[in-house]
Symmetry: D2
Subunit: 303 residues, 4 copies
């Protein structure tokens, strides 16, 4: 069995911008700190939540270094280094390793839909240039390519590709992965509304931006599963599912930023063309948060 | 809360034909008896598994009466009475009630995609003509119409529409149902590969043809869920998921009939244009069955 | 090259019902007569427009005989005989032939998705029992099965399967058919909004319910294509496309009946669960008709 | 009516790389020259064919300047300037204008699916910073967002957004555009296999990479349409449709480069992770080219 450094709730910070549209590194560090002290089991900067594709090389490097510095070894770090070209992916993967990342996450970004051989060679080229583990990430909605279980199996033959993150939103895909890859291979759920179903199906961890807003519920769900207590897990899931669906439907960076503001936290600005939630959407989010037991006492904080 | 007469494993018998293409009622009764004595919690004739739409009115009536006679009150019965026209649906629903069915199941068959108002009026017209409960069944793949949670909510306002069967195969739909309809409304899972996820999400029962082949595993899965033992449920699910996927992929009547034959049971013939599984498919099914612990001792039975 | 008995505008009458829900044969004959005298090149009863699947065997027979009697050889007839079971399809195909139909149309109705072999055997079984030609009809939206060009090629090897009707709504499918099947095989377009594109791609005919409402425009479009006058064809198409889209979106029987009423014609009633267009939809249809040059003088007729 | 600077065959050059993975500008200029002298009505660098998203800012600038220098005013130029962020899109649009581009093409790239308001503001921000016309480009397959005809209508209210390129591959969308936007607004087809259907529907131009390989057929098709000769257009279309489908299915940069090589032209290398066609695919392309009348004499050139 391959070692799995990651389990439980893997938290994705947003990348906040200042009023001039520049990445606000001090604020980013504060947001990372919130995730660590709220009990997240790992920190994953530069994911979709962190608007990776909208950042320049220098900004990606600054975010990588800020994460590792702030986390300071308290939990493992999983740095997103995906890029359209192989050369750039290698560049960022090496930077992450040199900076002290525990592992890197790579999705096969595809403007032109990649063939299976192109994908295998892409991962292989990157893997050969670093020594830390790689989490291969399947999310056809953002990458434009759907990696079949058979392809993922090929990727796992590359020595340091050790983990699979699956975000198709189809629970049957996870059953398939478990059957195809065997119990020894860790798979991670990246679809928030599938959190309960994926843990029920045996997922090792949950990659999520939700701990920016409701870390207690996210972690309690994982703990209930660990304790083999399905009833409690189900009850906890239904307390948070509306929020999970909302943040996915509205786009994670927009929704998390709006939620932070509602909770009295600074989430910075968004980079154009992304715009804040509308007033109506913000109101909807407020009501979703207020219906969550652990948040209802925060009523006075809300605008 | 509305009373729920059905829970657990709701077993769907196939409708066997003889060599002249006529329904074989004595054989049908034997197949129903197998389902009852193997511990199924209810019997549901004239579903998709029972090739309802391929039968004449007289055949449907004979199957209805044979079921109720054979079950003889040991478990509840849920009789399929769906028809393209409202008039015929009423006719069969009344026949089922008169014959002693516990409840009827109705899917809004739609050659022409029905509007929400047409669907509500259709259920309303049938419901007003019978006193037994109705399970409303959503399965866009066979009915051609996808009933939204909002529409299902409207249907539940009809007094004797008390249960929802959901077969979109999307677990998020079940979360939505639970949140929209409240815990008081029972929902049933009709998608075999979703068995674990649906029970985890709170489904009251599982409508399935699988007990024709692997009743022990189906019932054990339900029991593990009842005992709040997710680990055991997960293990049991992974033992049966390959079979569940196979019978869905190949068509339930074809696959169940082939499986019965492999297990040394008579499943009769199929009605044209349906044809038996190919040799290769039958071989695949045999291997799936042999990998199931409880079936492996049956090796000698297999052809 | 196989002989093609059909070309141009193949008109589909609706099946009208009386106030007791019974088929109104005298009214049906009047509607068929309208189609013939308006210049339609063929008459096709018992299609989707004619709500074939909602009719009893006796009703289908009455409609078949009424069509052939009324048309009286002035144009060819194409009678729908599709049924879920092979036995019933044979029964109705033989009845159509005996009654004098020019050809029959068969779609592989599929409650259980049929395999390619099942479909070939189904057509073969029917074809061997009749001598008149068969039009094989592909419409995954209503039949539940999408026949690939390769499968259609297999069907065309059956001697009296001589024509293909294609209703996927994807123009690229027609290009594929033309390339795969060769210029010798006639293909017919069954997707109304694709009328111009399909004729441009070389379709031999257009299977449509539109001549119930706008026969002049339908036939003029075909004539422009025959005269190799694309500009005129384009202009005529854009005059009718809103109506074509509307009748498809709302369901052909509902929309045609409403349109007949707006034009001062009796279209009878619909069979439950189908209901008439809403007032708003009827108003929308009225405005679409009034924007059509040839109908605008009918303003006084409209309610 | 807004002025349309573009009509006919708008040719997309590939961006060739040298053996070190750098853009080969001299070779690019030769490829542009081929397109101009073969009769293309406009040149459009930095499209999907030109692998825009895989290039650095400096490379985009070099390609822009090389195009304008090489074309030297003989035909208009349409430069792709799309970028995930608004700021970068403005940057490249201004560069294109300053360099002498006739117009720019912008697709709303969307890692995070953009709202309609975000898209309008994005175009508005760019449009306000340049004076040359903008072609708004809808291609959900690559951009991740499908711009509705209603949204496109809003974009056309921005003064220098004057043209629409549509690549959904659905001919009905073009009918809708023509009806919604009126005859005054030019729409361009970006789906190669839809070339005949789109021209039949009234498209002003065809945005295509095919002139890299078969310019004579592409231009002849346009000319036949201009002469209102549908029969000839149909015949010409069926001569080229296999090639059009092939280059789309395999990815334009890969397929064009392979085709150039087969025709004895240098197409340079691809940038990783993109890889050349496999041997089998190249063989398939060779046979497709050899079946095209105008290419069959090139047999001796082929490897």
């Amino acid at each position: 069995m391959k070692d799995n450094l990651f389990k439980g709730v893997i938290a994705y910070p947003i990348t906040p911008f200042d009023d001039n549209g520049q990445v606000n590194i001090p604020l980013f560090k504060r947001l990372v700190e919130r995730l660590v002290i709220s009990g997240s089991h790992a920190i994953a900067p530069l994911g979709s939540t962190g608007v990776l594709p909208y950042l320049s090389d220098e900004e990606k490097e600054a975010v990588t270094e800020a994460t590792i510095q702030q986390v300071s070894g308290r939990v493992p770090t999983l740095v997103g280094v995906s890029n359209l070209t192989t050369e750039k992916t290698i560049y960022h993967a090496r930077f992450a390793e040199k900076s002290g990342a525990t592992a890197v996450m790579i999705i096969p970004m595809s403007y032109w839909k990649l063939t299976d051989d192109e994908i295998v060679d892409h991962y292989d080229a990157v893997a050969s240039k670093i020594s830390i583990p790689i989490m291969a990430y399947n999310n056809p909605a953002t990458s434009g390519v759907d990696m079949s279980p058979a392809l993922l199996k090929r990727l796992l033959e590359i020595p340091n590709v050790t983990m699979i993150k699956e975000s198709t939103g189809d629970i049957q895909r996870m059953h398939h992965l478990r059957k195809e890859l065997g119990e020894g291979v860790a798979f991670y759920n990246g679809s928030n509304p599938l959190a309960l179903a994926a843990f029920s199906a045996g997922a090792t961890g949950w990659c999520t931006a939700a701990p920016n807003l409701i870390p207690e519920l996210n972690i309690a769900l994982y703990n209930a599963i660990q304790q083999n207590d399905l009833e409690t897990a189900q009850s906890l899931f239904y307390q948070q599912v509306d929020l999970l669906k909302f943040i996915v439907a509205k786009g994670l960076p927009r929704a998390v930023k709006a939620g932070l503001h509602l909770l009295g936290e600074d989430g910075g600005t968004l980079r154009s063309p992304l715009k804040p939630l509308t007033e109506g959407e913000t109101e909807e989010l407020k009501h979703i948060l207020l219906r969550i037991p652990e948040k209802s006492h925060l009523d006075h904080l809300f605008i």
